[in-house]
Each structure stands twice: as structure tokens, then as C-alpha cells.
């Protein structure tokens, strides 16, 4: 069911209009005119089948990629014109990936500290903040373990702690439970929902799992590079 674009509002954290993304010299159209608005503090699930453009859209929200055409604004500013994309990625958003993307040669606490480099924190402050975050996700007993020694659920919780390293206002999660069993997936989703509620964080989550999507307050359903429905979760 096609939807009307939601008009930009003062509280909009993201506003997209006519967003397209082409790959392979235009032979692949990943996004074909996407319009939406996401308000600050919203928990939005991007759902749809594989290849529908969910991850491409999420990458654009995280400034990991740029649109081929159209407009994508963050707090009213065109994202492609942001003066310091690295600063945006470091301070404004936190990423959570399906395959965790923890660095194998660093311990859990070191992984959490990685995004804090270049942010003007002392080594002591970085360590203290990492310990605090890992405590919040229930991993205070795993600080000095390497990722390979952790279970899938623990790895994702470590990745969530890392995403919160610089206290971002937005969390972008790409299939965060995709590599987890149902029990760990439920725990991770409970944790994400709790963090989102407590800190009023804007959470945009990509999933094709309806159960996971049910935690969100709003569903954006995509197919073939378009948003085909925009609805509140039941």
C-alpha cells in the first residue's frame, strides 16, 4: 500500500524526499524515490524482503553512503553537506551490525573504547566510560575477554555498548538479531528497547523478522527500493 510522504516537522530528526540510490552505473536502483520523516525519540523498524533497500537506506542515515539524488536531511541540514561526516558518525549516531563487527584483536572493553578515540577523552576516561557501558549491558564480567570467547548474544551486547560510546542521539541497527538464536535475540531486543525508552534515543532498526519489528513503534515497509507502507505497530 503506497503511502503519502510525511511532511517535515520541527521535531524531525531525519527527513527524506525523492531519495534514490543507484549502483553499477545505474544498472541497479537500490532506492527509487523514498520519502519519509523520522522524529526524535522514535523507534522505527525498516522491514521488507532482502534487496528491498533497507540496508542502503540505513547506510545513508549513518552517512556510510550518499544518495544518487533527492534530499536527506538530519535536523534540517542536508546530510551530504555536513562539514564533518566522521564527527557525525562518531557523535550523532551509533551503529549496531548484524555480524557485530567487533575487532578480534581487542578485548571487549577496548572495542567499546575504539569510537571514543579522537573525541578528546583521556585514556582513563575512555576506560571508565567503557566499563560503565558494559555494566549497563550486563557484560561487566567480560571486560577483558576477546570477542572470540563470547557467545553471539554477548558479542551483540558488547556491540550495543560500543554504539553508545559517545552518547549518540540516534542508534542505527542493521539486523541486530540476525545472527542470534531466539533467546539471545529476545534479550538483545529487550535491551535495545529499554535503552531507547530510557534515553529517548531515536532507534532505526532494519529487520525482516516480524517479531523483532514488533518492538518498534512504527513500521516502514520497503519493497524494490520504495517504502510501500508506513504504519504504527499493532
Amino acid at each position: 500500500m503506497p503511502t503519502e510522504p510525511i511532511p517535515s516537522s520541527a521535531s524531525a530528526i531525519f527527513a527524506a524526499s525523492g531519495l534514490t540510490k543507484e549502483f553499477d552505473d545505474g544498472r541497479v536502483a537500490a532506492l527509487q524515490g523514498v520519502d519519509f520523516t523520522i522524529s526524535a525519540g522514535e523507534f522505527v523498524a525498516l522491514v521488507g524482503p532482502s534487496g528491498s533497500g533497507k540496508t542502503t537506506l540505513l547506510n545513508m542515515l549513518g552517512l556510510l553512503d550518499s544518495p544518487s539524488s533527492g534530499s536527506l536531511k538530519y535536523r534540517g541540514d542536508e546530510m551530504v553537506s555536513l562539514p564533518d561526516p566522521a564527527r557525525y558518525r562518531a557523535r550523532e549516531v551509533g551503529f549496531i551490525f548484524q555480524s557485530f563487527h567487533l575487532l578480534g584483536t581487542f578485548t571487549v572493553t577496548e572495542n567499546v573504547q575504539i569510537p571514543m578515540f579522537g573525541q578528546g577523552l583521556s585514556a582513563k576516561a575512555r576506560a571508565a566510560r567503557a566499563a560503565e557501558l558494559l555494566d549497563a549491558v550486563g557484560l561487566s564480567h567480560r571486560l577483558n575477554h576477546f570477542p572470540v570467547k563470547l557467545s553471539g548474544g554477548e558479542r551483540q551486547r558488547a556491540a550495543i555498548a560500543r554504539s553508545l560510546a559517545n552518547r549518540p542521539g540516534v542508534l542505527l541497527a542493521d539486523e541486530p538479531t540476525g545472527n542470534l538464536d531466539s533467546q539471545n535475540a529476545a534479550q538483545v531486543m529487550e535491551l535495545l528497547s529499554q535503552l531507547q525508552r530510557e534515553h529517548q534515543t531515536t532507534l532505526v532498526l532494519v529487520t525482516h523478522d516480524r517479531e523483532v519489528a514488533s518492538h518498534a513503534s512504527r513500521l516502514l515497509t520497503m519493497r524494490d527500493g520504495r517504502i510501500i507502507s508506513d504504519s504504527a505497530t499493532p
Binding site: 547506510n59 564527527r87 562518531a90 563487527h101 581487542f106 577496548e110 575504539i114 578515540f117 579522537g118 573525541q119
Partner: protein, 371 residues
């Protein structure tokens, strides 16, 4: 965790490759230390010898290699007649293979000249006169030839009595066979020829008078060069060649090192494309990625350089004991050379990391994350 922790953790990820890369740098730096240290040692040995003997000006034909070409000894008296040439003596010096010593300095000296003055007899005696078929051996030459006073030594086709062992107070003097000039001229086939005229100037002669004497000699005798003893190392063609050869060989070794590190760092960047993507996604700036890669390359350079200095010092020590080298030079490992070598190693590291760092910083985060 500090930035340094990240650097060392990354280098430790593949310890064998890191070690081999550092070994490449270390070998290059060891070559610098060994070759330049040898050349420098040779120069310092000569400088010390000239200082001990008390030579102010050396006249020679600089067209030769390490040893200048011989010229007619009759020029000696003409040089001696010049103002400020207070004492003049001639020498014929050659590097020869003598008995079991593959290379040894043989020095035929004008009898009664001041070049005999500073030799201290520690065993036996000095030759009685210019006609006695006798030599004295520097302490190291005696050790190399395994001779003592009373033995004989064969120089070219002629046999001489070893009448004494002397301390010449410098490595070059102690590594030499010393005999009267006419005897060596005859033995070596250089009758009537010498390759050095050594001059002492009056005690009150200042630098300008010494310089004037040198210019006068060069103007008066075509083909001869007169240089102050303190400048002989800097101006000699032979020393220039030795220095150039040692540095050029070292530079080749360094270039090999550069490509080794560059290869390693490029492989590191390719292997870590995914990791670089993660770092970029987590907000690392491109210049932090550049800094990380350059710092890793520089650390390999520093560590490789330190290992290279130790390796070079060990090589120098071993080379100094070789029969081909002993008595000719004392390998020189100065602080300046060590500092230069370390700086070169760091420079090699950073230069090698520039291109890989640039490649790493150009990665798109989304593409790198898929890598």
C-alpha cells in the same frame, strides 16, 4: 588503551610477518652501520696516524685509488726548499699480500725522516741504517704475520729480517710493516719513486701560511696535490670513493627495505579493509586512519632500526677481526652514525607507509564494511 596499544596490537596480529618486515629494515640498517662504519673507521685510522706522526701537510698524486700513484722522489728536495717546509720526508706505501696476511700495509720510509720518530720499540731493536735488510713490525702486523724479532718476512720476492716489534700508537701504524725507503723501492719495483711527501711546518706557522705552502706546491708541481693533514680524508679521491661506495650500497639495501615495508603495509591495508570500514563507521576520521597506518610503519622502522644497529654493531665487530681488515682499520660506530641509521629507519618506515595510508584513507566506509 592508548593509540600506541592499537598500533602494537595491530603489529602483533601477524607476528611473523611483522618480524620479517622488521628484519628487512634491520638488514638495510645493519648494512649502513657496517659499511659506513668501516669506511669511517678507515678514515679515522688514517687521521689518527697522521696526528700521531705529527704530519702537517701531505703531498701526493691523488689520481690513484686508495693508495696514491707513485711519483719521482727527486721532487722531495724541491719541496723542501719552499718556505715553511720545515721538515720533509718521503714515504712509499703500498697495500700488499704478505705471506699469510691477505692485505697489509707496507711502509718504506726515508731513513732519518720524522716518520720514524714516534715508533716505540717494544721488542728487539730498530734497523741500524738504511742499508740493513731489516724491517720492524707494528704490534698488530706482528700478530697477523705471527712474527717476532729474529724471524724473517718475505715482501714480494725479497726476504727481510724482522729486527723489532714497534708500537706506532695508532692502528694504521701498528698494522704496518716498516722499513727503509730504498729497500722497499727495490723490493716493490718502485726504484726512485715515492707516493707521499710528508711535511712539518714551523711551530708558529698559522693556517694561512700552511694554506699558502699547499698552493705553492700545487702551483709548482703539476699533478701533485698538497693538503693539510686534517683535510686529507675529506679531499682524498680514495676516501671519497670509499664513502660513496659504502653509502650507495647502503642505499640499495635501504630501498629493498622500503619496498619490504610498503608491501607489508599494503597487504595490511588490503587485509584490514573490513576493519578500516568498521573504524570509519565508528567515526574515525580519515586522518586517524592515515596516522594509524603511518605510525605502524614508523614503529616497524624504529624497531627494525634498533635491531639493525645492534646487528650492524655485531657485524662491525666480526669484520674487525677478519684478517683482511685487521690492522687496516678500526670499525667506527659513532653516536652520529647510530642516530643517522635510526633516523633513516624511521624515514624508511614513514615513506613506505605513505601510499598504503593514502589507500586506506580513500576507502568508502560502506564498501570497506563489505570487504
Amino acid at each position: 588503551m592508548t593509540f600506541l596499544t592499537i598500533i602494537f596490537r595491530d603489529l602483533w596480529r601477524r607476528p611473523i610477518r611483522t618480524a620479517l618486515t622488521m628484519a628487512g629494515i634491520a638488514i638495510g640498517i645493519a648494512a649502513v652501520i657496517a659499511l659506513v662504519g668501516m669506511a669511517s673507521g678507515y678514515e679515522k685510522g688514517i687521521v689518527k696516524q697522521l696526528d700521531v706522526i705529527g704530519i702537517d701537510v701531505i703531498v701526493s698524486n691523488m689520481e690513484g685509488g686508495l693508495m696514491p700513484k707513485a711519483f719521482d722522489e727527486s721532487l722531495r728536495d724541491q719541496v723542501a726548499a719552499l718556505p715553511d717546509a720545515a721538515e720533509v720526508t718521503t714515504v712509499l706505501m703500498q697495500m700488499l699480500s704478505v705471506e699469510d696476511a691477505p692485505m697489509i700495509m707496507v711502509s718504506g720510509r726515508e731513513w732519518g725522516g720524522f716518520t720514524w720518530e714516534k715508533l716505540t720499540v717494544i721488542e728487539g731493536r730498530m734497523p741500524l741504517d738504511a742499508n740493513e735488510r731489516a724491517v720492524v713490525l707494528g704490534t698488530m702486523a706482528a700478530e697477523m704475520l705471527q712474527k717476532k724479532a729474529g724471524d724473517t718476512v718475505q715482501i714480494e720476492t725479497e726476504e727481510f729480517s724482522v729486527v723489532g716489534i714497534v708500537d706506532g700508537h695508532s692502528l694504521v701504524e701498528n698494522g704496518a710493516i716498516i722499513l727503509a725507503l730504498p729497500l722497499f723501492q727495490s723490493a716493490s719495483g718502485y726504484e726512485g719513486r715515492v707516493n707521499f711527501i710528508d711535511i712539518r711546518v714551523p711551530a708558529d706557522a698559522g693556517a694561512d701560511r700552511i694554506e699558502a705552502l699547499c698552493r705553492k706546491i700545487e702551483d709548482s708541481f703539476a699533478g701533485l696535490r698538497a693538503v693539510r693533514a686534517s683535510e686529507v680524508v675529506g679531499t682524498s679521491q680514495g676516501f671519497k670513493i670509499a664513502r660513496a661506495m659504502s653509502w650507495s650500497t647502503s642505499i640499495l639495501a635501504i630501498i629493498v627495505g622500503i619496498f619490504g615495508v610498503m608491501n607489508t603495509m599494503l597487504m595490511t591495508v588490503f587485509e584490514r579493509t573490513h576493519e578500516i570500514g568498521i573504524l570509519l563507521a565508528l567515526g574515525w576520521k580519515k586522518r586517524m586512519i592515515v596516522g594509524l597506518i603511518l605510525a605502524e610503519a614508523a614503529v616497524m622502522g624504529i624497531l627494525g632500526g634498533i635491531i639493525g644497529v645492534l646487528l650492524g654493531a655485531a657485524t662491525l665487530a666480526i669484520l674487525g677481526t677478519l684478517p683482511e681488515v685487521r690492522g687496516l682499520l678500526e670499525p667506527d660506530l659513532s653516536q652520529g652514525l647510530i642516530l643517522k641509521a635510526i633516523l633513516i629507519a624511521v624515514g624508511v618506515g614513514i615513506a613506505s607507509g605513505l601510499y598504503p595510508a593514502w589507500r586506506g584513507s580513500r576507502l568508502s566506509p560502506s564498501v570497506a564494511l563489505q570487504g
